[in-house]
Symmetry: C2
DNA sequence: CTGGATCCCTATCGATACTG
DNA sequence: CAGTATCGATAGGGATCCAG
């Protein structure tokens, strides 16, 4: 089977595979989904993703921040509150992953 | 930002994250693209993907075969010829990744 | 040509403990 | 609450050599 996959040059190919590999890292997709669904606090995210450890959440969150997928807002109360939310870019990434959900549904079983 | 991400249950979520993580493994996307573009022989794929080693191609190909993404056809010549091609399932997976290409183009720079 | 088998190094991840 | 520090296990991946 030979399909029509959009023609892209080397730079675009690199960006593409980079995005897939980034999103494909363990817990990445789950965390992004949890935040998209409204989990904004650290513990809310942890609670939303079974099996996710503090350490991994912390690490992914920092990566997401650096990559511009999430914003981190610190509210100086006692104790301090931290809110995470998707940026437009992060939101767009997740939306772009949506077809993969449909894909898994098509081939379920 | 809270977006609309399709509601899916736990099983679907697991299938989805599984698919992302599978496609996100190193070289996976590149190999799938190369095959989609018409590289069917082992050495053609190697040549199409800079940096890809024989060992990794061999490994990914076996994983793809097991997962039902590619078919492996052996032609008993001397030396033996092996042709790989995407299955419908593999083709569908790749198509589902297409929006990610558009995503990277939107956010290029 | 199409890989399999080894070796070895590193990144990644999980568990646990601790802090402002 | 929202993390950081540390440690040890393991899986992933690169290089190299070999074989049908």
């Amino acid at each position: 089977m030979t399909i029509d996959f959009q023609h892209i040059d080397d730079a675009q190919c690199l960006a593409f595979t980079g995005a897939v590999e980034f999103a494909g890292k363990r817990w990445s997709a789950s965390i992004l989904m949890a935040v998209a669904r409204g989990a904004s606090r650290f513990t809310q995210i942890t609670a939303s993703v079974p099996g996710l450890s503090d350490r991994m959440l912390s690490q992914r969150l920092r990566e997401f921040e650096r990559a511009g997928f999430v914003d981190r807002d610190v509210i100086a109360t006692t104790p301090v509150q931290v809110h995470y939310q998707l940026t437009d870019r992060g939101s767009d990434l997740l939306q772009s992953l949506q077809p993969l959900v449909n894909y898994t549904q098509r081939w379920a079983e």
